[in-house]
């Protein structure tokens, strides 16, 4: 190995593979070694697919030799464990699916395989993507590579931590209320939640169908654009995916942000926000101003304060139906000693789901019940429309909105485990974006006492290019994204 591979981005790895500085098999082995060496402490990976990875790497090497390599060909990566992988365990970090091997691939997995990416394993997560710390994994929590006593964020904590720790060159995550961006912020990596409908959800084990979206976790914005090029686009198997052409996302990375109008919604600098986070984000925004963007510090999005309540009605409601299929009848965990069919189904759910999942199923079941539907679900949908409209109006004036990704730096493990509401507040800046179906990125913006702070850039639907352009310009001017966790 001629280079310290954990410093590698996708575009660097691609260049070095093309230059034959190392082979994909060598690069893949290096990542697998690093998982073996580090992951006992990080806990980012739930399944290592060594055999599959080495086979794919060998294939990739052939493609490279034939001059048929794309930017992702031969690059080792991880898939969050809620995306179906044919013949490979897909557990959602739940006891319920501990033994579940899907006979089909998620559309994104098909697309990555076509692009020649090497799947080295499945990333840990909060059970069924419900959580903000990856402590709700039924197997083991994931630790933050920047400080192993702290959480990596969640629910895509495994994906973020693995990229931060150099166990994989990039990873896929899913984001329902901040599950890509918050861990990206906590682990100092780049994480994009695309517009709802930009990336197919087929094969993504559903949490909240109207909010879920798959996106990349990468070392930098260029990598993010490269992964988006591979995974975005309409899919006949997902009726909610948008039939809108996919641009080449690398074309917008031109460093030019002059004249772009950036709004700073004051409601996102919430009460109880850590002062270091606020200072860091304000400084980062100042950096964007220096690059030529015009900043309006006085934007107001008053409906934001309802977003958390709206989210915790809609997401659990959808989840309560989405998770109804796990009853032990056809696949997954089944309670063995049930006294009757009903007893077996009930006990399967009682013992197969963790506490947080059951909490949300109960919340959602309650919100949808006769007599409560209008007061909860219907009301939440109406407020959702108001939140959406408020963003629409803001985007008539601004190209993007910029906020902190999370109100705090990574918290210590166990700190919020017994206080669900405190845990939920960790997503207060990211939830509204899912509610409105908008694209948003989190990029490294600085550190407080060595702990990462993420900046969130939000745009109107399908304006991922604007986000990537600004984020890229920021990364050209700063080196936060080049800092690596010492582990």
């Amino acid at each position: 190995m001629t280079t310290d591979h954990d410093q590698l981005t996708i575009h660097e790895a691609h260049r070095l593979l093309e230059e034959r500085r190392f082979s994909s098999v060598e690069l893949t082995r290096a990542c697998l070694d690093r998982i073996r060496y580090l992951d006992e402490r990080v806990g980012a990976v739930v399944t290592v697919t060594e055999e599959l990875a080495l086979r794919q790497a060998a294939e990739a090497d052939k493609r490279i030799a034939a001059g048929d390599a794309g930017p992702l060909t031969g690059v080792p990566m991880l898939v969050k464990d809620n995306m179906c992988t044919r013949g490979v365990l897909t557990t959602c970090s739940s006891k319920m699916l501990e033994s579940f091997v899907p006979p089909y691939n998620a559309t994104v997995v098909d697309k990555l395989e076509e692009a020649g990416a090497v799947i080295i394993g499945k990333a840990n997560m909060d059970e069924f993507a419900m959580g903000s710390s990856t402590e709700h994994s039924a197997f083991s929590p994931t630790h933050n590579p920047w400080d192993l006593s702290r959480v990596p964020g969640g629910s895509s904590g495994g994906s973020a931590a693995a990229v931060a720790a150099g166990e994989a060159i990039f990873a896929l995550g899913s984001d329902t209320g901040g599950s890509i961006r918050q861990p990206a912020g906590f682990c100092s990596v780049t994480g994009l939640k695309p517009t709802y409908g930009r990336v197919s959800r087929y094969g993504l084990v559903a949490f909240a169908s109207s909010l879920d979206q798959i996106g990349p976790l990468t070392q930098d914005v260029t990598d993010c654009a490269l992964v988006m090029n591979a995974i975005a686009g309409h899919d006949n198997r997902d009726s909610t995916s948008a039939p809108i052409p996919v641009p080449d996302y690398t074309q917008c990375l031109n460093g030019d942000v002059k004249g772009l109008k950036i709004g700073i919604p004051k409601e996102y600098f919430v009460e109880g926000m850590q002062p270091e986070v606020e200072d860091t984000i304000r400084a980062a925004i100042g950096q964007l101003e220096k690059l030529g963007a015009s900043i309006d510090w006085e934007v107001s999005l008053p409906h934001t304060r309802h977003a958390l309540a709206v989210y915790y009605v809609i997401a659990p409601s959808e989840a309560s139906a989405n998770l109804a299929r796990y009853d032990g009848t056809t696949y997954g965990f089944r309670y063995k000693d049930g006294e009757s069919m009903w007893d077996t189904m009930e006990k399967t759910r009682q013992f197969g789901f963790g506490a947080e999942v059951k909490r949300r199923i109960m919340l959602g079941t309650y919100a949808l019940s006769a007599g409560y539907y209008d007061a909860y679900y219907l009301k939440a949908q109406k407020v959702r429309t108001l939140i959406r409209r408020e963003f629409d109006e803001a985007f008539e004036k601004f190209d993007v909105l910029v906020t902190p990704t999370s109100p705090t730096v990574p918290f210590t493990m166990g700190e919020k485990l017994d206080d669900p509401v405190q845990m939920y507040l960790s997503d207060v800046c990211t939830l509204p974006i899912n509610i409105a179906g908008l694209p948003a990125i989190s990029i490294p913006a600085g550190f407080a006492d060595g702990l990462p702070i993420g900046m969130q850039i939000i745009a109107k639907p399908f304006a991922e290019e604007t986000i990537l352009r600004i984020a890229h310009a920021f990364q050209q001017a700063t080196d936060w994204h080049e800092k690596r966790a010492r582990i």
Binding site: A206, A208, S210
Partner: protein
């Protein structure tokens, strides 16, 4: 006190699409081994998503239009949640708030009186898997799941509580089935389960406008069963009320063997299906243009066809109704008319001749042999040739019936059968005279009756002549000869 019966029907109709409602699997679930027409989508596996079957939406819109419904400009699917092992996702994708069709009606005829029964809504959903329960003495009972049926398209037609008798309910079902078959959207066969009916029935004092507690009757597998179950329930409820008992809302099952309904479960608490809009499927907008296009493609429906038959062919209402009861029969009839046979008759006379044959001898044999008209071995051309031969006098009416039996069995042309069996009409006076003489000689009593002034005795004697000639004698000639000879005696 006089009571009025109030009935509303809910009919589930399996749509005849090639693929299932939300995936590419074949919707033909019955003719293949269990669990062979399945995929991750209809198995309800993690992460899969539904995609709407366009054909099923079209079929539902066609049905809704034929039932005089308004087609929703905006329609969407909802999730209906309930746990059961035949429901692979734990929820059924159905339509709750915005069904495809709303506020229609169906014209039914009872005792020669036509009236409209309201249609509340027509909506689209998916069927469940099929459970088979097994138990053997001394062994633990178990259930088998066949997922072939899971996700096949199901259309529900919900009727208003506008029906007032079991007979009206039966007529409603006959009419609905006829329309579905005309449209070609379903085989609409109750015995096979492609047409399933649940009935809500209550009684109330005559003149009362309020609805009383209704009983839902399930498990009826034929039109006859619906009729008998409702008749039973009507009487049961009347007796109960007369004895001062309360009727409470419940679900009762029809037990065919015992000819009665039995309580299945009370409805003290309402089911809570926790409906909410299906987030995996965007709402559909059905544009006015699209609806017009569907409307233009609708075939002529039974009533319109009946009216046209009455106007164009001067057929009596009775004939026109029966001929248009099924699209196949009506089509067969019209193809017959296109042959122009029997020659020499004006259109109304031809139409009546064909109608008589179709509703008479043809229907009789179809029913007796359980044959569908589409499977008949005799094509319209062949049938009309027989009618033509009859008209021309080549065969008599009675002989034609014999020829017809043979044609129906073998599908051979009439002329060939007539030749082979020597069934052509006898117009030779000598040959008939012989038979006449024999008839007179063998039936002294009839002769005596005739001589005593009983004219009808001739008919009996003509019958004897026809029998002796295997129906081949020209009946007019036979009558004339008989009268002449009897007069001579």
């Amino acid at each position: 006190m006089e009571f009025e019966t109030v009935i509303g029907l809910e009919v589930h109709v399996q749509l005849q699409t090639r693929s299932k409602m939300f995936c590419c699997c074949s919707a033909d679930y019955a003719s293949t081994p269990p669990n062979t027409h399945v995929c991750p989508v209809c198995l309800g596996m993690p992460g899969v998503l539904p995609v709407i079957n366009q054909q099923a939406v079209e079929y539902t819109a066609m049905t809704a239009l034929a039932l005089n419904c308004t087609i929703a400009e905006y329609t969407r699917f909802d999730r209906k949640s309930y746990p059961y092992p035949d429901l692979m996702k734990g929820y059924q994708i159905s339509q709750y708030e915005d069904p495809i069709g709303l506020n229609g009606w169906l014209a039914i005829e009872v005792d020669g009186r036509t009236r409209r029964a309201g249609i509340t809504r027509v909506h689209l959903e998916e069927d469940t898997a099929r459970l088979t329960h097994r138990s053997a003495p001394g062994e633990e009972a178990y259930s088998l799941v066949d997922v072939n049926r899971s996700g096949t398209p199901l259309m529900e037609v919900v009727g208003e509580p506008d029906l007032r008798s079991p007979e009206e309910a039966r007529q409603y079902l006959i009419k609905l089935r006829s329309i579905l078959r005309y449209l070609g959207v379903s085989t609409a066969n109750m015995e096979e389960g492609s047409f399933r009916c649940d009935a809500n029935i209550s009684i109330r004092p005559e003149g009362c406008d309020e609805l009383a507690a209704k009983v839902e009757v399930k498990n009826m597998n034929s039109f006859r069963a619906v009729y008998h179950a409702l008749e039973y329930e009507e009487i049961r409820q009347r007796r109960a009320v007369e004895q001062g008992e309360d009727i409470f809302q419940e679900t009762r099952g029809w037990v065919e063997e015992e000819g009665k309904t039995v309580s299945q479960r009370g409805k003290e608490y309402a089911d809570d299906y926790r409906y909410f809009p299906e987030p995996d499927l965007p709402p559909l907008s059905l544009s006015a243009d699209w609806v017009e296009e569907i409307k233009a493609r609708l075939p002529e429906l039974p009533e319109a066809k009946r009216d046209r038959f009455m106007t164009d062919y001067a057929l009596p209402r009775y004939d026109a109704s029966l001929l248009t009861g099924s699209r196949e029969m009506a089509d067969y009839f019209e193809v017959c008319l296109e042959t122009g046979l029997p020659a020499g008759l004006a259109l109304p006379a031809r139409a009546k001749a064909v109608s008589n044959w179709l509703l008479g001898d043809f229907s009789r044999l179809l029913n007796a042999t359980g044959t569908e008209i589409s499977d008949s071995k005799v094509n319209p051309e062949q049938l009309c040739q027989l009618l033509d031969l009859m008209q021309k006098g080549t065969v008599t009416g009675p002989a034609a019936k014999q020829v017809w039996e043979e044609m129906f069995k073998t599908g051979r042309p009439a002329e060939e059968i007539i030749d082979r069996k020597g069934l052509s009409q006898i117009t030779d006076t000598g040959e008939i005279e012989e038979a006449v003489d024999q008839a007179i000689a063998a039936n002294k009593q009839a002769v005596a009756d005739y001589n005593a002034g009983k004219e009808t005795a001739v008919k009996f004697l003509v019958g004897q002549v026809m029998r002796a000639t295997r129906g081949r004698a020209n009946p007019q000639l036979a009558t004339e000869l008989l009268k002449k000879k009897l007069g001579e005696e």
